[in-house]
């Protein structure tokens, strides 16, 4: 018999008292070779910047591996010292900012490889449940062209998941509602 799931509730306006921490944006430590900042705004349906959201990212290491027992190739401790693969950022200053490295390609389950990607959770006041999306990278055009998740999307929607190079890494705005709405997933 199945137990019934605990319902989701909004993270509310005061999430920062518990979910903030100076270490959280660092999916990899300062000084990691190849590290960059992934930044962007979180926007509402009126185009206003949301200052009380939380953005979380999860990703493979640069080899495309996970230090997790359910990685069917075997859990592998990270090659990059201090690699956590998980980042978390508030948007109090108008943007989220995650310090990370580009993940390697991960099998797609059908004999191919997915393009480098991060899985993303967005939480905020006014979101009764989390939103899930993915971030890809504009300078991985060849890999992106082979990615089954991107391939399943209308071409006009694909770019909404693709971060573009910036001064210190990559940028992608996350739009919760409207004409430029981010593509959200049920996972």
């Amino acid at each position: 018999m199945r137990l019934l799931h605990t319902p989701s509730q909004t993270v509310g306006p005061y999430l920062s008292i518990a979910l903030r921490g100076e270490h959280w944006p660092y999916a990899v430590p300062v000084g990691t070779p190849g590290a960059f900042w992934l930044r962007g705004r979180v926007l509402d349906g009126a185009g206003e910047t949301i200052p009380d959201a939380l953005v979380e990212t999860w990703q493979a290491d640069p080899r495309g591996r996970f230090d997790h027992p359910d990685d069917t190739r075997g859990a592998q401790p990270p090659e990059v010292p201090g690699f956590r693969g998980f980042g978390r950022s508030e948007t109090l200053d108008g943007e989220y900012a995650i310090h990370t490295v580009k993940p390697g390609r991960v099998p797609d389950g059908a004999g191919g490889l997915q393009a480098p990607h991060l899985d993303v959770t967005i939480l905020a006041r006014g979101l009764l449940d989390r939103l899930v999306t993915r971030v890809y990278f504009a300078d991985e055009a060849a890999a992106n062209a082979e990615d089954p998740v991107l391939a399943a999307l209308d071409p006009a929607l694909r770019e909404r998941l693709v971060a573009t190079p910036s001064d210190d890494g990559y940028r992608l705005d996350l739009v919760l509602q409207g004409d430029r709405e981010t593509v959200f997933f049920r996972v």
Binding site: H5, Q9, L19, R73, D119, R186
Partner: protein, 253 residues
């Protein structure tokens, strides 16, 4: 070895009977924040069935006791909140980070944007964290939070609650929710709780637990959290048939 989809755990999809819709007009803040497009199904691959295992996160000795984080004790009814984190097959979710935050006994959060005229308590931060043990158990000592007003509608008050954040063991299991207290008279007018389908609302309410109540010290409350589980173990396939499980999942769309 190349991973194939059959090697990976398959987490049951989130069902609409358990969770609130994102578009809920009674809760004003959803208006400009809910997506207009329906979410697309993301295949569950390695990134989705793994997740941050932060079980070895350095915890401070007082992280799970919110009544001992300052020089003095906070004002309020001292309580112990405990329970288990399980997946929907009843298996313990061990070693997962559980973070909580709450208002003080007067209903005020220690947050710069909470300015309603109820005093802060110098001895209460309202923040705790712990990691579940091998049986999925967790426990916090804290004080019972107060209700507080907000501006969603006329004379709107949030029922007393404690915020819970759970990472689970996979990206699919991530859950942020709120725990409420039994018999709160404010439930009827709270759009956040009532956005959840009626049959599922009791799952957010803890139970008074006399066995955990500590004589002459603290009242006990018990609350179990159930995260999504996997549907593809051979054991389950033998019991109920893999085809049936697949069918269930598709019906939930």
């Amino acid at each position: 070895m190349t991973a194939t989809s059959s090697d990976l755990p398959v987490y049951r999809r989130q069902d609409a009977d358990s969770h609130p819709p994102l578009d809920w007009p009674d809760y004003e803040s959803t208006k400009l924040r809910h997506p207009l497009n329906a979410p697309l199904d993301l295949p569950q691959r390695l990134t989705e069935v793994t997740g941050p295992l932060l079980g070895e996160t350095a915890l401070g000795p007082l992280d799970a006791d919110l009544t001992r984080q300052h020089a003095g004790e906070p004002i309020g009814q001292r309580i112990v909140v405990h329970g288990r984190v399980l997946d929907d097959a009843g298996r313990p979710v061990a070693g997962t980070l559980l973070e909580i935050w709450q208002a003080n006994a007067g209903g005020r959060y220690r947050h710069t944007r909470d300015n309603w005229p109820s005093p802060l308590d110098p001895n209460f931060s309202g923040v705790g964290r712990t990691v579940t043990d091998e049986a999925g158990r967790y426990a916090f000592t804290t004080i019972r939070p107060g209700a507080y007003p907000w501006r969603n509608h006329h004379n709107a008050w949030r029922p007393a609650h404690i915020h819970f954040s759970l990472l689970g063991r996979a990206f699919t299991q991530r859950l942020v929710t709120q725990m409420y207290f039994p018999d709160d008279p404010l439930f009827f007018q709270d759009p956040i709780m009532n956005a959840v389908p009626e049959a599922a609302r009791p799952r957010m309410i803890c139970a008074y637990d006399h066995d955990t109540t500590v004589p002459e010290w603290a009242l006990g409350f018990r609350w179990d959290v159930v995260l999504r589980g996997t549907a593809s173990t051979p054991f389950e396939s033998e019991l109920s048939g893999a085809a049936d499980l697949t069918g269930d999942d598709e019906d939930e769309a």
